[in-house]
């Protein structure tokens, strides 16, 4: 019985009434020799009084929600060691979707969007994420199919809600699936600032938050354990906007065993150090190099992943960064570029790139079952 539930309140009220009435009604039964009679009657009165105090306390707690559970009352703490910095999206609909459980019929028609905490077992980090299941996930014919996953990372600052609301990612994917050019994919949307307010640039910070471990190991493990998704790298892609794009490319390059494809929308390709990142690499150049995609391409064998980079010609710095990165790439890393003729670093431009991004992902990701009920997408 929960501390805040009506059955509990009813219980304490009943106990109070029962003990107090019982004290009066059974008064004469509480007899016996002097001291015993005194003690039993005093105990009866005190029991009734204490029950009344407990009832008032329960009612006050119900009203102000001081303690939301028994474990919290017992001093079990709030359970979360780290505070997650997240935008609390307005309740109800987000991007046209009701967040949370919906009826089976609704899920089969438009998919399901949920908002959940994803805890990292190895890194001990955690964050809130949107997870979207496409309508095909709920089709009875697909009940044995494991779906590919695209993990989307926001920029800094940025919120997962923005991606769901302004990127048009979900709607675009469903439209392109209807066209036959894209594959229904489970989407996981989170922001990579797992140790706020530091921008850790998705690195495993020495003696600090192990954000890269979270993204490469913990997040896939948790999603695989919870949902019917691919257990192979060929079904996993990492994508992001701006800083999220840098994260996506860097983590995929360093963990090709976890991800086979990466998308960077208006991202950059070298490690940044500023006041928000602090000293990420403990001042050690080797660590910083290892987290720098351009350095990795120049000094290490290229990883076997596919990378799609996008930018708009109006973003001069991004364009130059991206060109440099692409010039360093070589097999087995396959790079693709999408250039938008004009427009700045904003969601309007990003959203316009989504159809192409979604189609590209479909051509790289495969569901685990070899029996796909969709026609294979055309290669682009």
């Amino acid at each position: 019985m929960s501390l805040l539930s009506t059955p509990f309140l009813a219980l304490v009220v009943s106990v109070t009434i029962a003990t107090c009435i019982g004290t009066v009604a059974l008064w004469n039964r509480l007899s016996g020799r002097g001291a015993a009679k005194l003690a039993s009657r005093v105990a009866a009165i005190i029991t009734c009084q204490v029950a009344a105090v407990v009832t008032i306390a329960a009612l006050v707690n119900h009203s102000f929600v001081f303690f939301s559970s028994w474990s919290e009352l017992a001093g079990g703490g709030t359970g979360a060691a780290t505070v997650g910095v997240q935008a609390l999206d307005p309740g109800g609909k987000v991007g046209g979707f009701d967040v949370g459980n919906v009826s089976a019929a609704t899920a089969r028609r438009q998919g399901q969007l949920i908002f959940r905490w994803v805890a990292g077992r190895r890194s001990h980090l955690g964050t809130w994420a949107y997870v979207y299941f496409p309508p095909q996930y709920f089709a009875p014919a697909n009940s044995h199919e494991r779906f590919p996953v695209a993990v989307w990372l926001t920029g800094y600052p940025g919120t997962p809600g923005e991606i769901v609301r302004y990127l048009g990612l979900i709607q675009t994917m469903n439209q392109r699936v209807g066209h036959g050019t894209a594959r229904p994919t489970v989407l996981v949307v989170l922001h990579p600032t797992l140790a706020p307010p530091r921008d850790t640039e998705c690195a495993d910070v020495p003696h600090g938050p192990q954000v890269e471990t979270y993204l490469a190991a913990d997040l896939p493990a948790e999603v695989r354990a919870s949902y019917r998704v691919s257990r192979d790298r060929t079904g996993w892609a990492l994508a992001g906007l701006s800083t999220g794009g840098f994260c996506a490319v860097k983590v995929a390059m360093r963990h090709p065993d976890a991800y086979s494809a990466a998308v960077s929308v208006s991202g950059y390709y070298h490690a940044v150090l500023d006041t928000t990142t602090g000293s990420l690499y403990g001042g050690r150049a080797t660590l910083r190099n290892d987290n720098d995609p351009e350095w990795l391409l120049s000094h290490r064998p290229a990883p076997p992943i596919s990378v799609l980079v996008t930018y708009s010609t109006d973003e001069a710095a991004t364009a130059a960064d991206t060109a440099r990165f692409l010039s360093l790439a070589r097999p087995p890393m396959a790079t693709y570029r999408l250039i938008v003729p004009h427009g700045g670093h904003n969601f309007g431009v990003f959203a316009s790139e989504m159809p192409a991004v979604v189609d590209w992902l479909a051509a790289r990701l495969v569901p685990e079952s070899s029996m796909s009920v969709q026609a294979l997408p055309r290669r682009r």
């Binding site: 005093v42 009084q49 559970s69 505070v83 997650g84 935008a87 609390l88 307005p90 006041t275």
Partner: protein, 391 residues
């Protein structure tokens, strides 16, 4: 006996056990049986509630004294008033009537000595207090802050970091910490263990060394001031937004730079922090709300501070203010916990109204109700956010 003292609690518990014993002994006495029994049971009931209430108050520091509980310690109406303003050479400015504008704040002479009858936080007193704890670590002073504009003199706790005593030329940023309702400065210090968290954040480097001041939020307890200037009543907003900064700048080496001043509060204090930040943008650059709300909540404890005046009500409603007024750049940190649905709903309603250039950060604990454990859990992150903004 002091309200929060152990002797009073022990007495209450003794009576809570003793009265039932007496009740049993007099139960069967002849004459007025029914009256006696009812009176005796009622007395027992009262005593048990009193003992429980005293125990809770001791742990949470809701009311620091009998005066707070019974309403005799409050200012009721401004104390000093014009005479106090004259001490600071402000006669003729009419400062006590109008809300001081930012320009009049800048005109306030920085190093004026308080006049007679007003307690003085002298440098020697601070040094003596520090010497008493061995000239090590940080210092917490329990003192009072006198406000020249309101004339109120109210208890406050002031935290001075260890660095304050090492570098005598440096000026420090100031965190103004506001408690909920009911609360005393001891609530922040003992229940939320502010000193421990400040020491920790400064040592770890997430917060630069800073002064923290915990003023009294309700000039006339047990009335809940909601930190507003009540129409025809207590001027809590002016006290907290103008007088407390003025007093701190006068008595301690506090920065005059807006970037170094912030407001932090829990529960009602969170509403206070955001509302005062909106009212005094020249003084404060950031506000932190832990499980706070964003419109005045009027109930029996608050009464109607606006006396039906619609403009006063709107200007103290952060949601209305944000919708209708241009805002200075600044930062907001809004925190809520999953086990406290009202705080979550408040942020969900308020946050979408904020423009992006305001840099609102939201913090979330998935579990936890409306209590000190949750606010302590937020403190490291909130202090780091404040520290990040000050750099």
């Amino acid at each position: 006996m002091a309200l929060t003292g152990a002797p009073l609690l022990v007495t209450a518990i003794t009576l809570a056990i003793g009265l039932p014993i007496v009740t049993v002994l007099v139960w069967d006495r002849p004459r007025h049986k029914v009256l006696r029994r009812i009176a005796a049971l009622f007395a027992c009931e009262l005593m048990v509630f009193a003992a429980a209430g005293l125990a809770v108050n001791r742990s949470q520091y809701f009311y620091a004294s009998w005066g707070d509980l019974l309403g005799t310690s409050g200012v009721g109406r401004p104390v000093g008033g014009p005479a106090a303003a004259a001490h600071y050479g402000l006669t003729g400015q009419g400062a006590r009537q109008d809300r001081p504008t930012p320009s009049s704040l800048l005109a306030y002479p920085p190093a004026v000595k308080p006049g007679p009858g007003v307690p003085d936080i002298t440098q020697s007193a601070i040094r003596a207090a520090y010497a008493k704890q061995g000239n090590r670590g940080s210092l917490v002073l329990y003192t009072s802050l006198f406000g020249p504009f309101t004339g109120y003199r109210l208890p406050a706790a002031v935290y001075l970091p260890a660095a304050y005593f090492r570098d005598h030329s440096k000026k420090f940023p100031v965190l103004e910490m506001l408690g909920g309702y009911p609360a005393s400065p001891q609530s922040w210090m003992h229940v939320l263990k502010l000193r421990t968290f400040l020491d920790g954040a400064i040592t770890r480097g997430t917060l630069p060394p800073a002064i923290a001041v915990v003023p009294t939020v309700d000039p006339s307890p047990p009335r809940d001031s909601e930190c507003v200037d009540a129409v025809g009543g207590d001027q809590a907003g002016t006290y907290l937004g103008v007088d407390v900064p003025a007093a701190v700048e006068r008595d301690f080496r506090a920065t005059e730079v807006r970037r170094g001043w912030s407001l932090t509060g829990y529960s009602t204090g969170g509403y206070c922090a955001v509302n005062l930040w909106l009212h005094y943008p020249a003084q404060f650059s950031a506000a932190v709300s832990l499980s706070g709300y964003f419109q005045p909540e009027l109930d029996r404890a608050t009464g109607d501070p606006f006396a039906g005046n619609r403009q006063a009500g709107q200007s103290n409603d952060p949601r209305w203010e944000v919708d209708h007024r241009a805002l200075l750049p600044g930062g907001l940190y809004l925190a809520a916990s999953g086990g406290d649905p009202a705080s979550v709903a408040a942020i969900r309603d308020f946050a979408p109204r904020l423009p992006p250039e305001l840099h609102a950060t939201e913090a979330w604990l998935p579990r936890g109700g409306h209590n000190g454990a949750v606010w302590r859990a937020f403190l490291p992150d909130a202090l780091a956010w404040l520290g990040h903004r000050m750099r």
